[in-house]
Symmetry: C2
Subunit: 117 residues, 2 copies
DNA sequence: GTTCATACCGAATAATTATTCGGTATCTCA
DNA sequence: TGAGATACCGAATAATTATTCGGTATGAAC
């Protein structure tokens, strides 16, 4: 298992929350699953900017943390369904607020975000 | 100015919010300022795991995006105060919820977060 | 004058995260 | 059989982000 070089204060709530959800696509994945896109291929079509590989990796991290669970059907069509656990659902209000916040301010932020780091 | 290689969908609210706040220390900085630690040295003492340099850089990004404003006093002691703008304050409920969420679940997550990426 | 705390910045490096590419495997349908 | 959709994984690379280190500058206090 990969070992993180830099230690961090896992007693701070914000740090913990950012460790769980502070990746480029994780809040979008939570949002997608909540909207009913439960299969990897569906999630990919919903978040088309992300590659299947990164969705894969972030889903497996969320799985490892207990934010989602996976149900695999062996019969055709070969498919897996990812669903939010109680832990995952508890984060939904925050995802919703992130979306609302971004939609409210995206117009005034767009130029600044496009030009800089 | 640095030019981002990978384009992103700035129409998605979540993507926008994550671009503004999705850095390792930004939500903590917002929290610190809201709690009254308005000067860089105070913020650093409050978030002691972070180096002054990274707080510096993230503060200047937040400044550039209009999330905070800076007031500099020329008289001694040499000091700058960073304060939240209306835009910054609008994000406070989310920071609060991130903190609450992390504090609620940090015990059950601690081991998993410590062992893996 | 020297030392200290303040704020800030540039540049090299390290660490982390995301992407690209190619591969495995299963089952359906033409 | 061969193409296409599904899910998934390993490894190299690229991109991004954070850290380290050293520097500038100011004025106070000793």
């Amino acid at each position: 298992m990969y070992e993180r070089k830099i230690k961090e204060d896992l007693d701070c709530g914000i740090v913990v929350a950012m460790r769980v959800f502070g990746a480029k696509w994780k809040p979008c994945i939570i949002d997608a699953i909540a909207k009913g896109f439960t299969r990897p291929s569906e999630i990919h079509r919903y978040i088309s900017e992300a590659t299947p590989r990164v969705l894969d990796m972030q889903l497996s991290e969320l799985l490892g943390l207990g934010v989602v669970v996976k149900e695999t059907t062996d019969s055709f069509p070969l498919c897996s369904d990812y669903r939010l656990t109680e832990l995952g659902r508890s984060f939904l209000p925050i995802v919703q607020q992130l979306d609302d916040w971004g939609n409210t301010y995206k117009h005034e932020l767009k130029d600044k975000l496009a030009e800089a780091v």
